[in-house]
């Protein structure tokens, strides 16, 4: 599996304000993305995710470090021939319709008119924007803009698609649709890099992740490797047993309408709990094991900062 994007020792400091105050955003980032995978770039707000992406795409010039994109130095315009990009909160030319807009970008890639027409048709279908294709973008809702933006990112049939917070501001249905499109991209053999701070979505679709906190990569690797399969605790909702008796076995949490939520940390104690309930003629309403989520990992890394 070859590397489609590699970043080494990336540094960027910004000087803001009239009396320049230096702020170091990226303090030496290194990671690599392999072909064909969905790569998640995580971090809290302000960590430097967007800055990293902008450096890769030539919108910002790094102070130090090397970036290679599709086998070429990233500042070579040719390196972006097979790259698609969707920025956060996308803005597009108000006065154009979706069709004209996509046509414009198609022209920038030097696509022939027939090719453009065909691709635009297919893309509009993919993002479900066929009906609104001839309205001016001025009239689009956020979700619609996001979808047109996705289409624009795919106009050149890219090998690498970079998405900056693609799921932000979408309703649950919208988020599912976008997730599906991303998965489809991978099926088509494209590499996807997406940055987000919504962990559930990342967890659902990414193969590998890098976690950026305070300008440094604290952790990176396969999701499966990072998150252990270990069961953290089991949550049992039961009734019929008093709290005092449960306290010895686990952590009784809430008591609502006669039911208690008991957190059992030690797996071995579960049978004991079940026996107890049966003895007291109580009922088990639910039993759920919780493994480590990405959120747990994430919070664990961010909190100490």
């Amino acid at each position: 599996m070859s590397t489609i994007l590699s970043i080494e020792g990336l540094r960027k400091t910004f000087s803001q304000g009239f009396i320049p105050r230096r702020k170091e955003i990226l303090k030496g980032i290194s990671f690599a993305v392999s072909e064909g995978e969905i790569f998640g770039y995580l971090g809290p707000n302000g960590a430097g995710k967007t800055t990293t992406i902008k450096c890769v795409l030539g919108l910002i010039f790094p102070d130090a470090g090397r970036i290679e994109l599709c086998g070429r130095p990233h500042l070579d315009p040719r390196s972006k021939e097979k790259v698609g990009f969707l920025p956060e909160n996308p803005y597009f030319y108000d006065h154009l319709t979706a069709r004209e807009f996509l046509d414009f970008y198609g022209q920038l890639f030097g696509l022939a008119p027939a090719v453009r027409r065909e691709r635009i048709r297919a893309l509009l279908k993919l993002v479900d924007m066929e009906r609104a294709a001839d309205l001016s973008l001025r009239k689009y809702s956020r979700g619609m803009l996001q979808r047109v933006g996705l289409a624009q990112a795919l106009i050149n049939e890219p090998s690498l698609v970079v998405l900056d917070e693609p799921l932000g501001g979408l309703d649950p249905i919208g988020r599912k649709e976008v997730r599906d499109i991303i998965l489809r991209m991978r099926d088509e053999g494209r590499t996807v890099v997406l940055s987000s701070h919504i962990l559930q979505d990342i967890e659902m679709i990414c193969d590998r992740v890098a976690i950026l906190v305070g300008g440094l990569i604290l952790s990176q690797g396969r999701l499966a490797d990072l998150i252990s399969e270990k069961i953290l605790f089991t949550e049992i909702v039961l009734s019929g047993v008093g709290r005092e008796e449960l306290a010895a076995l686990g952590e009784p949490l809430s008591a609502l309408a006669g039911r208690t939520l008991l957190k059992v940390y030690d797996e071995a104690r579960i049978p004991t709990v079940l026996d107890l309930v049966r003895d007291r003629k109580g009922s088990i309403h639910s039993l759920l094991s919780r493994t480590q989520t990405l959120e747990d990992l994430f919070v664990g890394m961010v909190k100490p900062q």
Partner: protein
């Protein structure tokens, strides 16, 4: 190729800007009303009418160039539409030049409209078609080429209001450079005088493009002057555009 694509897109956007049509309306009004002005003055009416009309076209053309030009690059940066653009395989100078030529195309259309009204009216009023009037218009357009470049230059790094003021300043300085030249001659020879002389040579002299008085008063127009003026315009425009490219090259789009 990329330049052409961006230019066409810019043209489509600029041509829909309502300011253009507002200014076009006022220009047309000025051209028509100059007839009234002629009745108030003394002397050869047609000369006055032609001169005022040409001056209106020049002023309104400059306003169009400045008002649209100063927003061109700034809006892209402000609205962040530039992100999806620069992330494509284009070079930054291609973007700038595309914007420039798109606006020039727009201005050409506007100038053609104003010019048509103007020449048409003159034809109706005098029955004669003067080729030299066309020449005067061409040189007004040359001046616009330079002013547009300046507007775009400022648009690269400052807000439309400031850019408009700076561009207007450029326009005024350009039309009063003769006073700087006269001043330089009156100062005692020395450092001050040299400085003033250098300044007056480097600062733009937009009067070079102003052949309106010659055309209207039927004075001779040496071909040498025309050639030099055209070369001056092209060189200065190239200078301003190169400066814009330089500033734009390593700009961070945050």
């Amino acid at each position: 190729m990329t330049i052409k694509v961006i230019a066409v897109n810019t043209f489509k956007e600029a041509v829909r800007d309502r300011i253009l049509y507002l200014l076009l309306f006022f220009a047309a009004a000025a051209i028509l009303l100059s007839r009234v002005l002629a009745m108030l003055t003394v002397g050869d009416r047609m000369k006055i009418v032609k001169d005022v009309r040409l001056a209106s076209i020049s002023v309104f053309g400059a306003l169009m160039a400045i008002l649209i030009g100063t927003g061109l690059v700034y809006k892209e940066i402000e609205k962040r539409t530039i992100f999806t653009l620069i992330s494509k395989p284009i070079r930054r100078y291609e973007f700038l030049l595309g914007k420039y030529f798109g606006l020039i195309l727009t201005l050409a259309v506007m100038m053609a409209s104003m010019g048509l009204i103007f020449l048409g009216l003159v034809l109706v009023e005098t029955g004669v078609f003067e080729g030299r009037l066309l020449l005067a218009l061409v040189y007004v357009f040359l001046e616009l080429l330079l002013i547009t470049a300046v507007a775009i230059l400022f648009s690269c790094f400052s807000t439309p209001i400031l850019s408009s003021l700076f561009s207007l300043g450029f326009y005024l300085i350009g039309h009063f450079s003769w006073s700087l030249e006269a001043l330089a001659k009156k100062v005692q020879p020395g450092l001050g005088r040299t400085l003033l002389a250098v300044l007056s040579a480097v600062l733009p002299d937009l009067e070079n493009f102003n052949i309106r008085t010659e055309v209207v008063h039927a004075l001779p127009l040496p071909a040498a002057h025309l050639a030099y003026a055209a070369a001056y315009g092209i060189l200065y425009t190239a200078f301003v555009l190169a400066l814009a490219v330089l500033i734009f090259r390593r700009r961070d789009f945050v």
